[in-house]
């Protein structure tokens, strides 16, 4: 039996969402209110187990009386708030944000982004042909950049980082949502192995001095990968299978069980393809793990397959 914390009773707040009156509990966000009435708002940096980072700006909506658009994932509802999620301004913002992201980043493994782009008519190619991958992104200095000629569009394309047997870091797919940093840092793991480094377009997720993960404070819990919305971070096994074309989610089953390594009782979800465990995650609504695991639960399952 799962015990659900229901907390103290909350006052209901009435807001207007796209002309429709909605009552949601005090303290709910605009995104919560949208979800409650079945309105879908695209999000990337929002994480159900993390505090809002407010970084990607995909979920921006219009609130009457506000000079700028507001992030629906973090802005709490207020009585009488009038919210428009499909106004011209909102749609323009969503389209441009997706175009900007798509023009600079490889979104080929980002779930749903294709649907969102076609829904708002986003065309990330209109900023020009992408510039070729660069190998110097870890060394770029803040406050300076090479003068562009405008004939190509700057991107974050760069070589994949594989410096350990468990993780792959493909920062050409990174949208800087801060989720991995938050999961690694004070919100969950408290390892602080990674941070955002650099500034502006040259900002990147990095260990100290871009040192390889095995020399960093990384404990290989995999909780950063769990929250990555674009596939920039992935498990080595999944990455290899995708590379050789044998990764097939339609042939995978998911079975949730309990980790046997210690007495904490973490829930494990085993992703099994062709009778072989290919990935282990944990349910985000698990009151024990909130989606987090340690290296043992996440990666210590090879013995199961010792047939």
């Amino acid at each position: 039996m799962t015990i659900v914390e229901i907390g103290l009773p909350k006052r209901l707040v009435e807001v207007t969402l796209d002309g429709e009156s909605v009552r949601v509990p005090e303290g709910a966000t605009i995104l919560d209110a949208c979800t409650a009435v079945g309105k879908s708002i695209p999000t990337l940096c929002y994480g159900d187990t993390l505090k809002p980072a407010n970084a990607c700006r995909v979920c921006m909506v219009e609130v009457e009386g506000s000079r700028t658009l507001v992030p629906s994932c973090s802005r709490k509802v207020e009585p009488g708030m009038v919210v428009r999620t499909e106004s011209e301004r909102t749609q323009h913002s969503r389209k441009l944000v997706l175009e900007l992201l798509g023009s600079a980043t490889d979104l080929s493994t980002t779930p749903h982004v294709d649907e969102w782009m076609s829904a708002c008519g986003a065309d990330p190619t209109r900023f020009g042909p992408p510039e070729p991958p660069s190998t110097d992104r870890d060394d770029r200095r803040p406050g300076e950049h090479e003068e562009p000629d405008g004939q190509t569009a700057a991107t974050v394309r760069q070589p994949i980082k594989v410096d350990n047997p468990l993780y792959v870091r493909d920062y050409g797919k990174c949208i800087l949502c801060y989720k991995c940093v938050d999961a690694c840092g004070d919100q969950w793991q408290n390892s602080f192995a990674i941070s955002v480094a650099g500034r502006g377009f040259d900002a990147r997720i990095s260990t100290e001095f871009a040192t390889p993960l095995p020399d960093s404070a990384c404990v290989y819990c995999g909780n950063c990968i769990e929250v990555c919305p674009t596939g920039a971070l992935s498990f080595k096994r999944e990455h290899d299978k995708r590379e050789d074309g044998t990764w097939d989610e339609s042939r995978q089953t998911q079975t949730t069980t309990v980790c046997t390594f210690c007495g904490v009782g973490c829930n494990l979800t085993l992703h099994v393809q062709d009778n072989e465990i290919v990935k282990v995650t944990s349910p985000h609504d698990s009151t024990v793990t909130h989606g987090n695991l340690c290296i043992k639960g996440r990666f210590g399952w090879q013995h199961v397959q010792n047939r």
Partner: protein, 589 residues
């Protein structure tokens, strides 16, 4: 928290300066990085490691912070480096030719050749400018302004001289009508006695008699508005903070003056440093703050020296510390924080993160600083010029103050005149003076030239045309005319100025200074610069009209969806050049 450090040790010199921070916490990260940079000129792995050990900070986070600031280098560089300003006012005054000479003689800009291109150094009245720095047991800094290639090359070879006794100057010095600038260039900025002999610390005495709520009432009735660019009513800000039951309250004096073309706060700090300290003390008294931080941009060595002197003298004489001026129970002290090369740290919430030892990224509002600011506590953030108006209000009275300026914009205002103007400098005029009158005061454009445009408010401001010189300089008139006074920048361009290059510099500036946190600004400023290059260079992707449309769309999303004012205004000046100056037509024809 167990720290995993790299297996690298600091040098003896690095260890000595970092060990001075033993027992301190995260908020000393920026000062510790400065200490290493001042000593050796760059931040090595061993030094950063040792800072992390002493201050107990995860190395990845400290690296994230150190790599945020342009004045620090995380790769080895020589102890001596000259920062050459290439920003707006210097560009108009020959910075490009200067850089070309330096490239020829010293090699391309970079640590190895000993010179670097720098954003606005805040000495636009003496453009072109450069700042020489040399790390050592006593770090040396010397401002070269106005400079020329020969001087930069000589200083790059011989190093900066340590004696820098040049005094702040304003064109109106000695004018009896001056209030904010009355001491600048007239009294000895190092002498507390001179300050007191010219009315100093009378306002604090008045404030202590009025009590905190009395002071707030005076400031509110004087209708003082913030002078940093946003024009928020100061009295309301103080009142909202004073009412917060949570303690302590903090005061932050925003002296991170980095808006290209702005140098008024530097002149105030260099010419009248005690006034800044007294004003902060009054603000601290009114809003119930026990501690004030003066966040000074890293490129102002002279102001740093004079403010340090002012604070220590004020402390000696009981104007800072416990029971100030004998007022039982009123304690207040000031700590200077040096920025390290990041325009964004002048944003009112980014400044908190920077002081706390985190990356200088703006926070999402709400919550507002008056509720949760520095260290999560209620905080007042005021610009230097705003604060310096406070003693004027308290000594002259709020009624007399409101008679200066206009109904909607009260008081005197400082404007920073630079570019193609005969007598550049900071001018003090009442709000309501017209732009034309102000230009006349500064002697207009040089003889034989014609006015092309004025950039009002800075890189985040907008252009006005020569036929708009009748514009009264007030917050409300500027707003009604679709422009802004911003931080008081009046950058004049005559018919010799190259508008295309000027706009490209604005675009490059915003790209360089974006913190990178949100998508519209991080990528938008890049796409803006790229599209502008195509437009200015007449090399469109398809047509110039399409590039123009692209610029407008990117500008709109930056304005609508960026987290902070930097991204929201990064398109303002370019938009106004396109539409108000007619550059759109010029570029697409």
């Amino acid at each position: 928290m167990d720290l995993k450090l790299l297996d690298v040790e600091p040098t003896e010199a690095e260890r000595v300066v970092v060990d001075l921070f033993t027992g301190m916490g995260r908020d000393q990260l920026l000062p510790a990085l400065h200490a290493v940079n001042d000593r050796v000129g760059w931040i090595s792995q061993g030094a950063l490691n040792h800072i992390c050990r002493v201050l107990h900070i995860p190395p990845a986070e400290a690296y994230g912070v150190a790599s945020f600031y342009s004045l620090f280098s995380l790769t080895e560089r020589p102890a001596r480096v000259v920062h050459v300003c290439v920003d707006l006012a210097c560009q108009v005054n020959g910075a490009k030719a200067l850089c070309d000479r330096l490239t020829d003689e010293l090699g391309p800009a970079g640590a190895r050749s000993g010179w670097l291109r720098s954003p606005c150094l805040g000495v636009c009245e003496k453009a072109p400018a450069a700042l020489a720095f040399e790390a050592g047991e006593v770090a040396k800094e010397q401002l070269l302004a106005p400079t020329h290639a020969g001087e930069v090359i000589a200083v790059a070879a011989a190093g900066p001289s340590h004696v820098d006794d040049e005094r702040a100057e304003v064109p109106q010095a000695g004018d009896s009508g001056l209030r904010l600038l009355k001491r600048v260039g007239v009294v000895d900025p190092e002498s507390l006695d001179d300050y007191r002999a010219t009315g100093g610390y009378q306002a604090l005495r008045t404030a202590l008699l009025l009590g905190p709520s009395g002071v707030i009432r005076e400031i509110t009735d004087a209708k003082l508005m913030g002078r940093g660019g946003a024009a928020f009513p100061t009295g309301r800000k103080w009142d909202a903070t004073a009412r917060q039951p949570v303690r302590p309250h903090y005061l932050v004096c925003n002296a991170d003056e980095s808006e290209p073309g702005t140098f008024k706060d530097r002149l105030l700090m260099e010419g009248d440093p005690f006034a800044v300290i007294e004003s902060m003390t009054i603000a601290g008294f009114a809003a119930g703050c026990s501690k004030g931080y003066l966040y000074l941009r890293g490129e102002y060595p002279r102001a740093l020296h004079l403010l340090r002197n002012a604070i220590s003298k004020a402390r000696e004489r009981g104007f800072l510390g416990a029971n100030i001026m004998g007022h039982e129970g009123f304690s207040f002290d000031i700590e200077i924080r040096r920025g390290a090369g990041a325009y964004i740290c002048g944003e009112e919430t980014a400044i908190f993160n920077s002081i706390e030892g985190f990356r200088g990224e703006p926070r999402s509002k709400p919550p507002f600083p008056v509720e949760q600011g520095l260290f999560g506590k209620p905080t007042v953030v005021n610009n230097v010029e705003t604060l310096v108006n406070v003693p004027v209000i308290l000594t002259e009275g709020c009624e007399a103050y409101t008679r200066i300026g206009t109904e909607g914009s009260t008081g005197p205002k400082l404007f920073c005149l630079s570019g193609n103007v005969s007598r550049p400098g900071v001018y003090e005029v009442p709000f309501g003076t017209t732009l034309g009158e102000l230009l006349d005061l500064a002697g207009g454009v040089p003889p034989g030239r014609e006015l092309r445009a004025v950039l009002l408010g800075g890189a985040a401001g907008g252009f006005v045309r020569p036929d708009e010189l009748g514009l009264p300089l007030t917050m409300e008139d500027a707003r009604a005319a679709g422009t802004t006074l911003g931080s008081g920048v009046v950058l004049v361009l005559d018919d010799t100025a190259d508008l295309g290059s000027f706009l490209l510099r604005i675009a490059a500036f915003f790209r360089d200074e974006s913190c990178g946190q949100c998508v519209p600004c991080r990528i938008g400023t890049v796409r803006q610069e790229e599209a502008l290059h195509r437009l200015v260079g007449k090399r469109p992707l398809s047509t110039s009209a399409a590039d123009l449309q692209l610029l407008r769309e990117v500008g709109q999303v930056m304005r609508d969806s960026s987290i902070c004012g930097l991204g929201q205004t990064a398109w303002n000046a370019i938009e106004s050049a396109l539409d108000r100056l007619g550059y759109a037509e010029e570029a697409t024809s």
